[in-house]
């Protein structure tokens, strides 16, 4: 629980290499840190600052803007119930009350066993399937009190391990650019020519 592990540094360097400026990798690396520790630690932010060439304060500044980054431990399962209009029209508020009752906690807090954190969320781009929720950013649609309780039971008993990884991991598949196929990122100041497939500027005339 600290700086990025050796394996993760390797992934981090691969990610940084894809951008013309290293700082662009800040958010992907924050995700990597959160995947490693379940939340973003100060040590990880300092390490990310070193890797992308900024200060840890700047990394913190960026990180705190984004809702997904947590700075203290949260439950293994982050349950986000959508409360925006389409879901609200179809019972999101009642679902939230039910969830608070089932989990025995208020929205915004974590169960004493550290398994669940419950949060109010905003439109999850699944409005036709209202009311919706996400557990560690994996969807459940048209949620009823019964399906909610079933979900919690399944999670408690580890029945969804394959589908829903612990908090911190978002996508389970990473992009990999093969060395022999990638073009490679170039700093903008090192490019002056139009790309190879574009006609030379004078021949281009007025395409605009």
């Amino acid at each position: 629980m600290a700086r990025l592990s050796e394996d993760n540094v390797r992934i981090a360097l691969e990610i940084i290499g894809r951008y013309p400026r290293a700082k662009s990798a800040t958010i992907p690396l924050l995700h990597l840190a959160q995947q490693q520790d379940g939340f973003v630690t100060n040590e990880a932010m300092a390490h990310i600052g070193e890797l992308v060439g900024t200060t840890s304060a700047e990394v913190l500044g960026t990180a705190t803007f984004y809702e997904m980054f947590k700075f203290e431990p949260v439950g293994k399962y982050l349950v986000n119930i959508c409360g925006t209009m389409s879901c609200a029209l179809l019972g999101a508020e009642a679902l939230m009350h039910h969830a608070e009752h089932t989990l025995g906690i208020k929205a915004g807090s974590t169960t004493p066993d550290g398994l669940f954190t419950l949060e109010h969320a905003e439109c999850q781009a699944a409005c036709t399937e209202a009311p919706t929720l996400q557990v560690n950013y994996r969807y459940r649609f048209r949620v009823t009190n019964e399906t909610f309780d079933q979900l919690i039971d399944d999670l408690r008993n580890g029945r969804l391990g394959d589908e829903i990884p612990a908090h911190g991991t978002v996508a389970k598949i990473r992009q990999r650019i093969p060395a022999d196929r990638g073009v490679g990122a170039v700093a903008p100041e090192d490019v002056t020519e139009p790309p190879a497939w574009m006609p030379a500027p004078q021949a281009q005339g007025s395409t605009s």
């Binding site: 958010i27 992907p28 980054f69 029209l89 409005c127 978002v170 650019i177 196929r181 073009v183 497939w197």
Partner: protein
């Protein structure tokens, strides 16, 4: 796919619309399908299925022409932006300053406008189509690197796109010398981390540079001039780019034969709320009306439980509301704009007569207030004020002054006449879109929009919610208290003062 859809079922046929269990919410109909043609295959996200169904054929057609000719095609087809503003893609690409390189493409996959559900489907169900669209755009406009920014909360979309990118690199469709030509391009998958305002194109660029996702001051109005790393940058929506492969395969004429002259092709529409069959549909652009979408048997199928329509939001949470009077308007920017709203992001949210209008408006205002990035005072302060006042009214503690105050706060964000729909019932004529604004981006105005719409069209519901009380100065009590409600209130008021 994600489990849990109540509507799930293998190829359940419901009237003329077909559903697929692995595409939650989507209904295929007897209509042209430009971007959803592969949704019927369970494995539509795989490169095998893609290649077996005309995949990368549009790219080959594009590469067979000089880049400027492809750009001309996109201009001639008037491919309108599907991210909200409806700006023609071909025209936007032409706004890059000539001779300035490198130029970048940033794909806006941050879909988070309330009510909007289409880009996520396109990324999860047909990621290669999006990749092919990115390749065509970069080829045509001379863009030398592409960043595909996907909303942080969309785990499955990120996985599908990552897998598709890996497969496409391996198969030679992305990277160096694509298909043996001198066209070379990297497409980099980038994730967000939860912030609505990052969908605004300059905020998207800030976020991609590793900063807080705050919109940039305008001008420049388009990042096409100064964008990522200060270089010319095209920002396009996922659905916009997903149109390009079909356009290249079938040609401009086939594309413009669908829809209307000003709004050609199709567009994805999500209809949610109190309808019988909430769903996502690919509909003919320009001519399909809101009545079709809400009441049409092949679309949402009418109001649930025989209820009546009270109001609907026609173009995502930022759009001023419509009522029954506007049902026959087509999905066409100019017509909808003149009627006081916008087509926006392809999202219709429907409210029936059981809806508590002030509470419904609050869900949207709270969203925008919460998502304010804090850069402009009218949005940062005004949004929160609007939310607090609305909360008070919804809780039954509002006073008549609160209604005026809502308008006053709104005026600091959007001075002057604010757009709204016409209403025969109220004898109102429409005020056309757009509004004036004192803020950098549309988040501030969007916090006010639901308040203004609700208050203009349903003022009676707000008034009915106000606290019924008469203020009686403590020193003026001259008569013995009676048991009517006024004195009860006064007595309890006095009680509060002393406690």
């Amino acid at each position: 796919m994600d489990a849990g859809t109540a509507s799930a079922g293998e190829h359940v046929v419901t009237t003329s619309a077909t559903t697929y269990s692995y595409t939650p919410g989507f209904y295929a109909g007897d209509r042209p399908r430009i971007v959803t043609s592969r949704f019927e295959y369970e494995d539509s996200h795989t490169i095998e299925r893609f290649l077996a169904t005309d995949g990368y054929v549009g790219l080959k057609a594009a590469l067979a022409k000089p880049a400027p000719a492809v750009h001309e095609d996109v201009k001639a087809a008037t491919v309108l932006g599907r991210g909200g503003a409806g700006f023609p893609a071909g025209t936007k690409w032409g706004l890059t300053p000539p001779g300035v390189f490198p130029r970048y493409l940033v794909v806006n996959g941050d879909e988070s406008e309330p009510g909007t559900y289409k880009d996520r489907l396109l990324m999860e169900r047909d990621p290669h189509q999006l990749i092919e669209g990115c390749l065509i755009a970069c080829y045509a406009a001379g863009l030398s690197q592409c960043f595909l920014y996907i909303r942080g909360e969309m785990a499955v979309a990120q996985e599908r796109v990552a897998q598709a990118l890996n497969d496409a690199y391996a198969a030679g469709y992305i990277g160096k010398n694509i298909l043996g030509t001198d066209f070379s391009l990297d497409i980099v998958l980038h994730w967000g981390a939860g912030a609505y305002v990052v969908g605004e194109e300059t905020a998207l660029i800030e976020s991609l540079e590793g900063n807080r996702g705050m919109p940039r001051l305008k001008p420049p109005y388009f990042p096409a001039a100064i964008g990522l790393y200060g270089q010319p940058t095209i920002v396009n929506n996922v659905e916009t780019l997903a149109n390009l492969p079909w356009l290249m395969r079938h040609g401009v004429e086939a594309y413009t034969a669908i829809g209307t002259a000003t709004s050609p092709g199709t567009r994805m529409m999500a209809v949610s709320g109190h309808v019988k069959r909430p769903g996502v549909f690919e509909v003919i652009n320009g001519s399909t009306t809101f009545r079709d979408l809400i009441f049409g048997e092949e679309f949402a199928g009418g109001m649930r439980d025989g209820a009546t329509l009270k109001a609907f939001v026609p173009g995502g949470g930022s759009a001023p509301w419509f009522v029954e009077d506007q049902l026959d308007l087509p999905l066409e920017g100019r017509a909808v704009g003149a009627a006081g709203s916008m087509v926006g992001s392809g999202a219709v949210m429907v409210m029936d007569d059981t809806t508590d209008i002030p509470a419904a408006a609050l869900t949207l205002t709270a969203f925008y207030a919460h998502e304010s990035c804090g850069k402009c005072a009218p949005c940062r302060e005004g949004g929160t004020w609007l939310m607090r006042i609305l909360e008070r009214i919804v809780a039954g503690h509002g006073t008549s002054r609160d209604l005026d105050q809502l308008i006053q706060v709104g005026q600091t964000i959007c001075p002057g006449n604010f757009p709204h729909a016409s209403s025969e019932r109220l004898g109102l004529t429409a005020v056309p879109f757009p509004y004036k604004m004192t803020t950098i981006c549309f988040v501030g105005p969007s916090a006010y929009t639901p308040v203004h719409s609700a208050l203009t069209l349903f003022r009676d519901e707000f008034e009915a919610r106000l606290m019924k009380r008469t203020f009686i100065p403590v020193t003026a009590v001259s008569e013995p208290a009676t048991a009517d409600s006024t004195s009860l209130t006064a007595a309890s008021m006095a009680g509060t003062v002393h406690s």
